[in-house]
Amino acid sequence: MGFLDIDNVTKSYGAVEVLHRVDISVEEGEFLVLVGPSGCGKSTLLNMIAGLEGITSGEIKIRDRVVNGVHPSKRNIAMVFQSYALYPNMTVGQNITFGLEMHGTPKPERERKMKEVAELLQIENLLARKPGQLSGGQRQRVAMGRALVRNPDVFLFDEPLSNLDAKLRVDMRTEIKKLHQKLGTTIVYVTHDQIEAMTLSTRIAVMYDGYVQQLGTPKEIYDSPANLFVATFMGSPAMNVLPARLVEQNGALHAVITDHAGHDLALRIENAPAAYASYKDMPVHLGIRPEAITDPEGADRNARNVQALPNMVTVTEPAGSDTFVTMTVSGKDCIARMRADADVHPGHVFDFAVNMDKAVLFDPKTEDRIA
């Protein structure tokens, strides 16, 4: 029993089921991020928690109270919208207290709460302005103030940062995280940005095609993705997925790939999970994150199994902090994340170091991770 329980919830429009049996239990104080590409059902799920969309089957419980069919205003939730949805005809102060007014809170208390929230978000000097006179970041704060002032059980955020420019987005991300740490509120946050999901959440639900593909901590999602979708969706640049064959040599399992010239190259796998045995001599997908492929000096010192991969460099992309290096492995582009000053040149063969501790294998048919 969690604080917010989503039990076997489905959503259909006519005969089309857009959400299939979603089961998520959120503890008090958790920061759950629903992440996925557009059309995956994440916003629909959020709207169902808010009560803005009906639930086709299953139950949603907030504090052990079933809220199916309960009006949005009676669920003790607050929501921050993508467009902020500030009432254009009201001042910032009126925007913040509108919900309290609708709930019949007396005026002195409204004023007091408004002051508290304005102080918390540092928007005291904006209270008399209209939303049209505010910048994007200020509107964002006001929208959060409107949510905070009601002291709800659950905060719902619907892509709140996607209308901001890149720099402000990073700043506000930090602000939201600070706010969560300070207030310890329960938050459900929808985004399509996997970096937001990784940085903000205590747990992530990766959604695709109406299914929750994986529910777990950011580390679980990143290091042990449940399937190819999660593996490639989370992380930037995306995880390299390379066609390989699993063979046994000298009593150890090896993933065999081909280099730029088409020569076989075997990468030894240590501490292989038992499930790998049944894929012996079969094709698999080898998943390696770009940061697990480096120059030999840049390899992780704690890594126990670093394998050499001599290969020709096709493109280098210096990004300031890192240099991204593209090569061809098993006929596919493979990206390595190197130190900024790594000595790599296009057209030359370079000795890459692959941290096989971080490698994962996927079944090519089911696309699930082999474990």
Partner: protein, 293 residues
């Protein structure tokens, strides 16, 4: 407005500009001339008109025709002037405009923010009333007014104009609210506002331009209507348009053209005033739905 028009305008030479102004001036004169004639003739004694000086300036300025048209001229059989009928028109137009605007706003709100099964069909049916020629409904409407026992009265006319205004006002408000962000309504719902609170506190305060459009359109149409007025409210309840007709067409005595001119200007004045005061909102409101600022 001025800033916008210069921004969009193509740069032109001074000679071209002079030509443009002359051209526009000519057309303005062309359109204003009949009104000028009306005005001049309403300010001169009858003898000057009958003496052939119709387009001359008055030799003797007088406001006698205006006073006569307003309070003593023969309308039908009564020498009451146009005043009571002017009041009739006000009593008819104001409630009908307000009611049809309010109902149109509510319809637009429901049709865009509280969608239900078959809402587009209902909207389509409402639009029919914009395209049905009024002559078709005269007889059924007369029957209904008879049943309600308000035939030949101002309340009867209010009902008729109210009902026939809903189509247009709904069209205006629906299109305006279609561009109104639904997230605002959802935010208000979460804040605990009900159906009418959202309408009153969120939607209406943002509807200024379209209210102006609806108001101008409805007022002009209702004030200028002759057909319904002549059909459903003859006699003491007749609106201004019908009374003006009765003034001009009275078959007894001398035809006082100067009084007729004064009466005609009086009948046209309110719509003219509404356009002058609120005209720019009309253009702004019509643009609001289609062009995003």
């Amino acid at each position: 407005m001025a800033a916008a028009s210069t921004e969009n305008a193509v740069r032109s030479s001074n000679a071209a500009r002079v030509f443009v102004y002359l051209f526009l001036l000519l057309f303005a004169l062309f359109y204003l001339l009949p009104f000028l004639i009306m005005l001049l003739n309403s300010l001169k004694p009858l003898e000057e008109i009958t003496g052939g000086g119709m387009i001359a300036l008055p030799r003797q300025w007088t406001i006698e025709p205006w006073l006569s048209a307003w309070s003593t001229a023969q309308i039908g059989v009564q020498p009451t002037g146009l005043r009571p009928y002017f009041m009739n028109s006000i009593m008819m137009a104001v409630p009908a405009v307000v009611m049809s605007t309010v109902v149109g706003a509510l319809n637009g709100y429901v049709l865009t923010k509280w969608r239900f099964r078959g809402d587009t069909l209902i909207f389509g049916l409402l639009l029919f009333s914009c395209f049905i020629p009024f002559q078709i409904v005269l007889i059924p409407m007369a029957r209904i007014l008879g049943i309600l026992q308000i035939a030949g009265t101002t309340p009867g006319l209010i009902l008729v104009h109210f009902v026939y205004g809903i189509g247009f006002t709904t069209l205006y408000f629906r299109n305006y609210y279609a561009a109104f962000p639904t997230e605002l309504v959802r935010a208000a719902q979460i804040d605990g506002a009900g159906f009418f609170q959202i309408f009153w506190r969120i939607m209406l305060p943002s509807s200024g331009p379209i209210i102006a459009v609806s108001f101008i359109w409805q007022f002009t149409n209702i004030w200028n209507d002759f057909l319904f007025g002549a059909s459903f409210a003859s006699g003491d309840a007749a609106p201004m348009t019908v009374a003006l007709n009765n003034l001009v067409n009275s078959s007894t005595g001398v035809r006082e053209y100067n009084v007729h001119f004064a009466g005609a200007i009086m009948a046209a004045a309110p719509t003219l005033l509404v356009y002058i005061v609120a005209g720019r909102y009309f253009v702004r409101g019509l643009m609001a739905g289609s062009v995003k600022g």
